[in-house]
Symmetry: D2
């Protein structure tokens, strides 16, 4: 990239918004110039707006302190300020649907963390290593909606990345999967701030996360789907059952997976080879946030673990281990990823990088 | 019971041994009179032998302090002192096999926590609510081995109780199960003392427990098996795949289960009714440690949890929740039990109570 | 007691209110007959009012489920229903001051957990083992305010019990204290529900609790004070400096204390003897919640600890250990108590028991 | 530096040894070329020697994998291989005293993490920002012992850095301190591996760390001492009393400090200014590991905290907060540092950098 794209963050004062800002510091292609949030924060300097509620481990970067926060609902205000808008607004679903479409209509490339548009048929739900091809829906989206330059793309829920890259690598290598039963052990940061009360997470686990199992089961089908006519049609072949648990871990979601192949079954050595050799468009295009390699397989019998593996590939790699035969299905393994990086803001940034590299953003 | 049975504990200084002593305080049928451990501890008063390593939450009960610890390998020493011997010795498997059989040959009713004899064909592996009928192997065992009064019974691994009672209740009600995939989130007390290092359990989970998955998959088959000729023949119909994880919880194992029925499938309301109405021989005989009810079903969407449910039924009940359809199999649920009580010493004591009530102990 | 006193709980749906109900189950002197809370809950059965927010480890007791919750601000409604009113309302200080006085004016013996009246000069702030004598202010309070039968007593903040009993025992034995520097490590339950976010309590401590250091420094002076004329005059002799920290512990506050004596200094053996022999009016009157002994001294070098000592004396004893000389002052020690039991609802119940035994309640 | 110094690590397979290797990756002045450990590990490649017990969060760096581990007790083997030897051997004190002196006699600049030589009178115990002047003992040490090029320096215990920099900054600014009472909340990594059992650190704190309070009280006196004749004479003016606790935190020691000044007392604003302006020789010499600034003062009322502040200055800065008057002494504050970085390996590396910059190492 010769020039830097100017970017904005909607919902900049929330946890995901803060994560975007943390990850976008020193980004080689993107420069944060616009911050917007709720009317409460509008008009304040960013440092004031987040005083007492900056939750990142490192201190608030100087570069953001004096930016005046705008009202996220005022689309006109952002006109001409930036070309990419990362959305992490917290509103009712209906309002998010309208607001994000409004920014896209106004010419912004909107990349959203929200679930509101995940099942909108002409909006791609991106894991860039898997469904880069879904970007071909963008011209259709623009045509459907009469947009000239704007676009709308979303990232999926943070619970699924631990297994989506590993299973996609197998599918791509010619081993389609028919059934998967997965149990996730999810970090508290996935619930935003404040998230679970500490009294509920000391010496305890909570075997329930509202809405998470449904998302974990439905979103993969769209990601593995195909464009047909003017929409993305979900894959029908894979059936997933998810058990989602909240555990006393700060960052890093772990997934225990049992898989059944639809047809032929690879040998274990072949599976590991497929994972270790897996590479995709983000790696080929050398996107700034693309982890190399995207999938790390660890040989140690007791890995991956959140503390030791969540930061692999700058928090963008998926670490896999414990491949073994399954007594009921075909294979079992454990996958792990960083839920607020690969699973949230980092995944959205990688999507924006792909959009930029592919020429979708002016 | 009119009289109290005198009991001994082998391996009395270890974690499981300490748990036996804690649970046997004020037991209405059993009186602890004999403690044995390794030669290091032999000859010392119990209070001295465990000085600095009594790990129970409550202080060492006065009643045990002055008992002189004997050498567990000296079977002759125990002669005439007691009729029941709880075994929690820590030795090589071969040595445990021989030692426990030696005590039984010497006339003791040996009830063991160890895995050494779990797959010995004429030794019952007991969950008293499930396989009370396996006690019929005792006369055969005595005949096989030329024992007059002694006997040998074992309890299974602590990882399986969260699901064994719930699935057995369904089987007994006419809904046999063909396949189960289960992920356990196991407490650190299951690893004995010191168990996992704290640095590995702060902000972390370990997705591996050596040998645990194999035990979780194989032991249920024997418990659900039938006596045929002079041995217990494991059930062949149920296939189990287990993912075992260590989580930062002190006590209480949680299991996330997906089940496939072999034949007809009960409605959800029927499943809950079966669980809530389940009762078995220990409850009918009013054994002192038998929980009433043995299975508790909680309606709250986010239960059971270790902190709130592990002590249900004095740590002997299994608490179940989150019954829902499975996208891949038939039903899903979460089970929870107290691993060092129902899952270890408490389960062995309940077995001894059943043996006593049924007249197997003199 | 021949008859049971009927009692009510104001703020019955909050965390402290729930704790009262848990501790008052099966109380030999008190019977809960009246529950009141905010207008939101008024008119509902208690089980409905706390649906999804009953935070005690054990399930909601059956006895409370069908009690209709009243509006706490409606004093007339409570008339004739009970004689003791435990207050755990959550309102602005001004409103609590008025409401609690209102209930007392209406004839109720009000025992409050709130800080609102702690420094009202004719209201005793009770730790029954220490300042039983302050109950002599009750007739004065009634006279001052024109109350016939009602009364108002409060308990102090939950941070101070770990050291107040140990230092009072020394003062009473003839060793007055001039200076104390104390650092507390406080459990999250002390912050109510939800309290600290789990993300802030995983792999972390927070070295600050709003208002806690001030309370920890000022309240002891009143408790150690004397009645003079128509008010309680705080002790001026002891100076306390407190550092209060929140740590990832569910229940149990720990205090590291360094003390300087005002005059003669006891030998260590004498200090331990004083603590172990300490007994006071609640023990002599055999009040139902009075721990015997009130102070437990542990000889082990690494005790007391929250997990092993918080439940001592049914959560009402204070456990002390690590007595040693201080390099700067005279002695150092560690104290520990259960913050939601001795430190909150249990302490208030003990106060009500003392009031009842002393004939202050009709 | 034009050339890189070659360095070795004694005790390279232990936790501190591993930390040295982690921190010395890509060091601009030092190149690790020699690894030694116990005879068990000798002869193995480093990757084999630590297989299954590499405890750093990041994977074992490639550069170390194939280095053959030598026997640390064989000093001759190291001859000519390197000029600096970092010692983290685990042996009896007597053996460490002899071994480290042996390496120094053989010409190595030995910088040790061990406590063995901390009170040897001609061995400097270094916190480079404080007692750079103590390096003047090196020529005396060489003369005392007949060493030509070798030298021996040690770093102090990991518990004291949180307060030593802040109090030294005040002393240096003309505000000597007469008394300090400090309570530390120490991370489990300070205990090495495995350290405390997880069952003792879940929902718990341990108010005792063997030997830690004594070290925390005695070591500051030597660090603040002066060279007199042929030895370092400890400062007599400051009296410290320490309460040391183990808390469920992975890395990062917190200290709650109350200070009394010996003479005039600075205003709070002056104290903060002194801390913020503090700089010392390591900063002036731009030593690679020297944090700039060395002391960070945070204005937020609830900082510093381990999760947010331990990595400040690459884990080498000390973060201070909560400055306020003390009711008993003069001021109170909270200090925090990274115990395995600034408090252990990082502190030793900074000392070696200072020795190199000052020309003590050939």
């Amino acid at each position: 990239m010769n020039k830097k794209f100017k970017v904005g963050v909607l919902g900049a004062t929330g946890m995901v918004g803060q994560n975007y800002l943390k990850l976008l510091q020193n980004h080689p292609w993107f420069e944060v110039v616009y911050l917007a949030a709720s009317p409460n924060s509008a008009g304040k300097k960013y440092a004031e707006a987040v005083a007492g509620r900056w939750h990142m481990a490192d201190n608030l970067p100087e570069a953001y302190k004096d930016i005046i926060v705008e009202d996220a609902s005022n689309i006109a205000k952002a006109a001409g300020k930036c070309s990419i808008m990362f959305s992490a607004v917290e509103m009712d679903k209906k309002d998010i649907v309208a607001l994000e479409a409004g920014y896209a209509a106004a010419g912004f490339a909107v990349v959203s963390n929200n679930s509101a548009h995940r099942h909108t048929e002409d909006v791609p739900m991106m894991i860039p290593e898997i469904n880069e091809g879904h970007l071909a829906i963008i011209p259709i989206q623009r045509k459907n909606r009469g947009w000239k330059e704007g676009l709308l793309a979303v990232k999926p829920n943070c619970s699924i990345q631990s297994y989506m890259l590993p299973i996609y690598a197998l599918i791509k290598a010619g081993y389609p999967i028919s059934q998967m039963i997965v149990t996730t052990l999810q970090a508290v940061s996935g619930a935003g701030y404040p998230g679970p009360a500490s009294i509920d997470m000391i010496d305890n686990i909570i075997p329930y996360i509202g809405g998470e199992e449904e998302k974990s089961e439905i979103e993969p089908a769209k990601i593995l789907g195909k464009i047909s006519g003017d929409k993305i049609v979900p894959d029908k072949d894979i059936k997933i059952s998810a058990h989602c648990n909240r555990v006393p871990v700060s960052d890093g979601h772990t997934a225990c997976c049992s898989l059944k192949f639809a047809g032929k079954k690879p040998e274990p050595a072949e599976v590991i080879k497929i994972w270790r050799n897996f590479s995709a468009t983000p790696q080929e295009l050398k996107l700034p946030s693309a982890p190399v390699p995207p999938i790390i397989y660890r040989d140690e019998v007791n890995q991956p673990q959140p503390r030791t593996d969540r930061n692999a590939g700058n928090g963008m790699a998926v670490t896999v281990g414990r491949l073994r035969p399954c007594n009921v299905f075909d294979i079992r393994f454990v996958g792990l990823h960083h839920n607020t990086n690969r699973g949230a803001a980092g995944g959205a940034i990688l999507t924006a990088e792909l959009l930029a590299a592919k020429g979708y953003i002016k």
